[in-house]
């Protein structure tokens, strides 16, 4: 396909389909994330990038025969490699013998949370998740460094006015429906954030949904209106505050005599401490993810509106 617009739409559909694969394979948390990221934000970001770079592909493919040979050789070797793998759904496979039984049988006593994915994410492998959050933060800062535009105030005002009039004459239904839906989207994001301990959900998904709400607002009401509502400096500091909150919980648990990110010491009983720690670090994750997604989107769009 030469038209990048169609390519990106297909990618979005692929994201949604893979989310349904994940549901079929019992990974509800992952499906939730993939549906909001793969089918939502990723499609949107690629579309914005394409409006900046042009939507048609014009080069010839280089040496497709050689590429096919390389690809089929790799694929053949990989399939040969799978012949020794355990069968799909086999309960005695080595991967289910190592640490997974402890997570499944002991996590209720140790953390008191029914959602095992959340307790592994936030408690057992909290250090790992801290690293992931730092990577997300760094990627957000990278986009900021690459795409940031210093704006001149005069042009800002003129553009804000023109977009304002444009939006008030057109897209009436879109605007009203967006206004009605927005509180529910943000409320749902908060529900996902704080219900993540008990059902599917958590900081990563909630952050993405919250950001999607703000991005929807920016798309319908114009970037400048959205910037007026969501202060840029505030969002930037929020992304750092999320990481600091996460690291801070670790430092506090160290000062109270435990290991880094060992929440047992945060409250009177280990289970209450785990609850508090998991709640706080999920909040940190949610803040960082939401802020970084908003930063990324605003900076892509800011480039496009460049006079």
């Amino acid at each position: 396909m030469r038209d990048l617009f169609a390519v990106i739409m297909m990618t979005g559909i692929f994201g949604l389909l893979s989310a349904s694969f994940f549901v079929a394979m019992d990974a509800v948390d992952v499906a939730f994330t993939e549906a909001s990221v793969g089918a939502g934000i990723a499609t949107l970001l690629m579309l914005t990038a394409v409006t900046l770079t042009g939507r048609s592909e014009d080069s010839e493919r280089h040496k497709p025969m050689w590429a096919l040979v390389v690809v089929f050789t790799t694929g053949g070797l990989l399939i040969y490699g799978t012949l020794d793998m355990p069968y799909f759904g086999f309960a005695e496979a080595p991967v289910h013998q190592h640490v997974a039984p402890r997570y499944i049988y002991d996590s209720m006593q140790e953390t008191g949370l029914p959602n095992i994915v959340t307790s592994v994410l936030a408690s057992y492998r909290g250090f790992d998740t801290l690293g992931e959050v730092v990577v997300i933060f760094t990627a957000g800062m990278g986009v900021l460094a690459l795409l940031r535009v210093e704006r001149r105030p005069g042009i800002d005002q003129i553009m804000a006015d023109s977009i304002f009039y444009l939006m008030h004459e057109r897209h009436l239904i879109l605007r009203i429906v967006t206004k009605m839906l927005l509180p529910f989207i943000l409320l749902f994001a908060l529900y996902v954030q704080f219900h993540g301990d008990f059902g599917p959900g958590g900081g990563f998904q909630a952050g993405v949904i919250f950001a999607a709400g703000i991005i929807l607002y920016a798309m319908v009401f114009g970037l400048n209106t959205a910037r007026y509502v969501v202060n840029r400096t505030f969002v930037r500091s929020l992304s750092a505050i999320g990481v600091l909150l996460y690291g801070g919980v670790g430092v506090v648990s160290m000062l109270l005599g435990g290991n880094f990110l060992d929440y047992d010491v945060l409250a009177d009983s280990p289970v209450a401490g785990q609850h508090l720690g998991i709640l706080l670090i999920e909040l940190g994750v949610g803040l960082t993810v939401a802020a970084v997604m908003v930063i990324i989107f605003f900076n892509f769009c800011g480039r496009r509106d460049l006079p």
């Binding site: 994201g15 893979s18 394979m25 019992d26 990974a27 948390d29 992952v30 993939e34 793969g38 934000i41 990723a42 690629m46 990038a49 394409v50 900046l52 770079t53 042009g54 592909e57 080069s59 493919r61 280089h62 497709p64 590429a67 096919l68 390389v70 690809v71 790799t74 694929g75 399939i79 799978t82 012949l83 069968y87 799909f88 086999f90 309960a91 991967v95 997974a100 499944i104 996590s107 209720m108 029914p114 959602n115 095992i116 994915v117 592994v120 492998r125 992931e132 990577v135 990627a139 986009v143 690459l146 795409l147 059902g199 958590g202 990563f204 952050g207 970084v292 997604m293 990324i296 892509f300």
Partner: protein, 117 residues
Amino acid sequence: MILGLYNYWVVVVLMMIGFYIVIAHGNLIKKIVGLSIFQTAVFIFYISIAKVDDATAPILEEGISKYSNPLPHVLILTAIVVGIATVALGLALAVRLNEAYGSIEEESIQNQDNQEC
């Protein structure tokens, strides 16, 4: 039964598609799309490993004793969000390249570089 391995073959085919797009196409946006297909193939690989027959999602509930393995779910959940952040970084680089060279085609960028030398 060798057909019990079909989940890995689906993953390998998806990976081959993504890999082909990355090496055969010159358009940078398409390369990023290819990379994200490759990435999703890896996600499906991990999640299919975690699947246990007749088990349910790993949320503890009275009266259920078989759960699928939660560890790959955790790894992939975070990897998806990290993946979108890195894809955004790649797109940002493509946008900057387009501003500098007026094109996101690999060959045209290469030609302009060669002329300058």
